[in-house]
């Protein structure tokens, strides 16, 4: 009989709630969103997701092999799957296949593994890839199919993989994009004149957002993450939108418009909650979320890009270590929290 000698604790619940479990829960939580997207924007979303997953797993395996790491062990943690899924949800449903390929490959190879892999990447890989695609291929990235006008499954498939000529007129900008390029019009005129801002379109977006919110609430109840980052982000975004729309309702969109269009909900519950790239403490996460919300509003309202979640998150990723330094919790028995790094001994 040989007795095992290891350090305490001897019990843990991570056998049931490991990293794999967390990732599975995240994937599960995206299901309502996927369904809503598919309902409104057609099969493109599902096809994109499947293709992105394949690419992601292949890239991950390839890099792990090059890094001489156990492939099975790392594939099982599911982080690549989540990355691919989030990216696929963020890009337009009818985006061509190579867009997905480039995005996912860049996310996995460069944004994740080049920085050391799981747990070491300072920037959210999905958002890095999204930003790359948005900057490199702005047209492809902003062409969304109008709700309920999506082609059939085979049509979509052919469209995505370039097997059939593109259907014109079926695509349009997202509401945010349309809103962005709406110079010299009051909001009312704009909403009436632009197809992307018709009430059906808006309803579709709102519905999708609500589906993400549902998934996020599920994750919160399963204690996959704490409320701090999403609430911080949504709160600050709402406050910003409220202040500005009160100031001039003709120019600045309403709170609900900001909350329920674009990637706001997806970002709040699936992007800023990515544990690796945010601040560490709960206080830090709250600050992180607030920062993201403020930046989203600023970029949306005053920047050049229609949607701002990716840039806001990336910018706050930069700031995360800094936030960490100044958001240490106060330890038991100490009057105040430590701030910053230890001073050099003299």
């Amino acid at each position: 009989m040989s007795l095992l000698a290891i350090t305490s604790p001897h019990m843990n619940k991570s056998n049931a709630r490991g990293v794999g479990f967390i990732m599975t829960q995240v994937v599960l939580a995206t299901v309502p969103g996927i369904l809503a997207m598919t309902w409104f924007f057609g099969w493109g979303t599902i096809i994109n997701i499947c293709f992105a997953l394949l690419v992601a797993l292949a890239c991950e395996a390839l890099v792990l092999k090059l890094r001489k790491r156990p492939i099975g062990f790392y594939l099982k943690d599911g982080s690549a799957i989540v990355t691919a899924l989030l990216l696929a949800l963020a890009i337009p449903p009818l985006a061509p296949w190579w867009l997905t390929l480039v995005g996912v490959a860049f996310a996995i190879i460069v944004a994740k593994h080049m920085y050391g892999g799981m747990g070491y990447n300072p920037f959210n890989p999905a958002m890095v890839a999204y930003a790359l695609l948005l900057v490199s291929f702005p047209v492809d990235m902003t062409q969304w199919v109008l709700p309920d006008t999506a082609p059939s499954f085979s049509g979509t498939f052919q469209h995505i993989f370039g097997l059939a000529p593109a259907f014109d007129g079926m695509t349009s900008a997202t509401p945010l994009d349309a809103f962005k390029h709406s110079a010299n019009q009051t909001l009312n005129e704009l909403f009436q004149s632009t197809p992307a801002l018709k009430s059906e379109t808006l309803h579709a977006w709102q519905f999708v957002s609500m589906a993400y919110l549902l998934g996020g609430i599920y994750l919160l109840t399963r204690r996959i993450y704490t409320w701090h980052a999403p609430v911080g982000m949504l709160g600050s975004l709402s406050v910003m939108a409220l202040i500005f729309s009160l100031y001039d309702a003709d120019v600045y969109a309403s709170v609900s418009f900001h909350l329920l269009t674009g990637a706001t909900m997806l970002g709040a519950f699936f992007i800023v909650t990515d544990p690796v790239t945010t601040a560490t403490s709960t206080k830090g996460r709250l600050i992180f979320g607030i920062g993201v919300g403020v930046l989203i509003y600023i970029i949306r309202a005053f920047g050049n890009y229609p949607d701002a979640v990716a840039f806001a998150v990336l910018l706050m990723n930069f700031a995360a270590p800094f936030i960490d330094q100044y958001s240490q919790p106060r330890t038991y028995g100490h009057k105040q929290a430590r701030k910053g790094l230890p001073k050099k001994k003299d």
Partner: protein, 201 residues
């Protein structure tokens, strides 16, 4: 005329700022430890001379004069790291020419073989060996720095360097190995951050 004004203005500025700087350097002078003492306090003080200097202080002085920081085997990587931090230079691997890092040891005299020649007593830099001519010598273990210097002079080779065994009081848990560590130890690394994961994460 303009030229003259410019020159005068510049000279005036230079004087003013010079005065401010001079005042500041006197008024806000930082009374710090001299660098040699700081370096010396990081060295393990075994006085073993493996760095080819006759003691830790001389080596500290040499480091302050630009000597390499990787010549101290008793201090090992930790000392190199600490010195690198202090001096703001890149840590280098230990110079194998001066010996290898090993566990803390203590000298033990095999007492029936000791002939009482006092040679080890003279060699010991910290007076940790007790004895008199023609009498058996012994090492005061708590004072021994494990510097090795008494081994060579012994004419009958009766001094052993024994690793210090942990006691219940000094024992502590080992560092758990991580997956990345064990893999990185085996393979070359494709990505720069894979290197020395354990050392600098």
């Amino acid at each position: 005329m303009t030229l003259l004004t410019a020159i005068l203005a510049l000279v005036a500025l230079a004087l003013v700022f010079g005065a401010i700087l001079g005042f500041a350097s006197i008024r806000f002078k930082v009374e710090g430890n001299p660098i040699v003492d700081q370096i010396d306090s990081l060295l393990p003080q075994t006085q073993c001379g493996q760095c080819s200097y006759p003691g830790c202080k001389p080596y500290a002085e040499a480091i302050a004069d630009g000597e390499k920081i990787n010549k101290c085997p008793p201090g090992g990587e930790n000392t190199i790291q600490a010195l690198a931090d202090l001096l703001g230079v890149e840590p280098e691997p230990l110079d194998a020419e001066h010996g290898e890092e090993s566990v803390t040891k203590v000298a033990v005299i095999r007492e029936d073989e000791c002939i009482g020649c006092t040679k080890c007593i003279q060699a010991c830099p910290v007076d940790a060996i007790l004895g008199a001519a023609k009498q058996m010598h012994t090492v005061i273990a708590s004072e021994c720095t494990g510097c090795d210097l008494c081994v060579e002079p012994c004419p009958v080779d009766c001094i052993d360097m024994v690793p210090v065994a942990p006691t219940v009081q000094t024992w502590s848990w080992e560092q758990p190995s991580t997956t990345a560590d064990s893999i990185a130890a085996k393979n070359d690394n494709l990505i720069i951050t894979d290197k020395g994961r354990g050392a600098a994460a």
